[in-house]
Symmetry: C2
Subunit: 196 residues, 2 copies
């Protein structure tokens, strides 16, 4: 049990260290040895968890993709179209804010982009995209609605990881992304102000 817990702990510390190093040096510029050094363990200890840097990069991105999947599944249980959209939008913005370092990396790093794009092109990722579209735009959306939803959600993702907003604190970013999402999707806005 203790050994198992220690292994889980090392794995999770390893992914934190990898994200830190990726953000600083890029995925390409980070070696397994650098990750081992950052953790103060041997390269063999890193190999125990991951055989390649690609596996580490995937594992760094995986929790965010799983959370996204969960948000969509929760949204699907809501009765009305508007409740589904509100749940998806709120959950999505929460996820963006919580995963800012990862999104920043995704927005700027070819190595992370390669891994995430590959995930979305795989059957499970493609299915996630389809479910997301259905929740946000309905069962058989017009092309116009489908494109609008695509624009808003990819746009929120890009804005959340954009370097020019990196200095904004989490609460402010959350408020403004939600505000932009609600305005763009024609949903009622929670609080007055914020608009120019």
């Amino acid at each position: 049990m203790t050994a198992g817990t220690a292994a889980t702990d090392t794995r999770s510390r390893l992914l934190d260290a990898a994200l830190r190093l990726f953000s600083e040096h890029g995925v390409e510029g980070t070696s397994l040895q650098m990750i081992a050094d950052e953790l103060g363990v041997t390269k063999a200890a890193v190999y125990y968890h991951f055989k390649t840097k690609d596996e580490i990069t995937e594992a760094v991105a995986a929790p965010a993709l799983q959370e996204l999947d969960q948000i969509i599944e929760e949204a699907r249980t809501k009765r009305s179209r508007s409740a589904q959209v509100d749940h998806a939008l709120t959950g999505f913005v929460e996820l963006i804010v919580r995963q800012r370092p990862l999104l920043g990396l995704y927005n700027s790093d070819p190595g992370m982009q390669r891994v995430v794009n590959r995930t979305f092109q795989a059957p499970r990722g493609a299915d996630l995209k389809t479910r997301m579209k259905t929740v946000l735009a309905g069962e058989a959306p017009s092309l116009s609605d489908a494109i609008m939803v695509h624009v808003v959600f990819t746009g929120l993702t890009m804005a959340g990881g954009a370097p020019q907003y990196a200095d904004i604190d989490d609460d402010t970013l959350r408020e403004h992304l939600l505000d932009a999402g609600r305005r763009l999707l024609g949903r009622p806005r929670k609080r007055p102000g914020g608009a120019g």
Copy 2:
């Protein structure tokens, strides 16, 4: 003169061939030799124009970035805020539709993303981003407005190059991107219908 024209012609054919090969094999998977073979010239002929694949990748993306710059400058000459936004939106959507192969590559290829990101991080690219924001959101936009404009324009770019819309013909894509942009920016829509 004839030699100069031939060189210009070769350069332009070279960039067309590079974009074709990049789209098929990725930037990483394309060699200078493959580009030479595609054109039926020697590798030395390719070297005459470009020393590295990075230079070719930059040159493939450069015309679209120059066009974007021009659209922003034209929009800046318009008197009213709404005329500026309309001009920028129309020009931007035109550019997206005309540059679909390049955008598709940018959306999926780490090599192209690296080069374009680097361009936007350089002083001239950063200045272009600032001018674009000013045209679209005004001189001193609220954070909320700045983020909204960021969301819409990055979203339109991503949607324009998204693989799921690759089969849509240019006119239909143009119509729907314009429609989405106008709805999202609260601009009057040119034609009825299209919404679900």
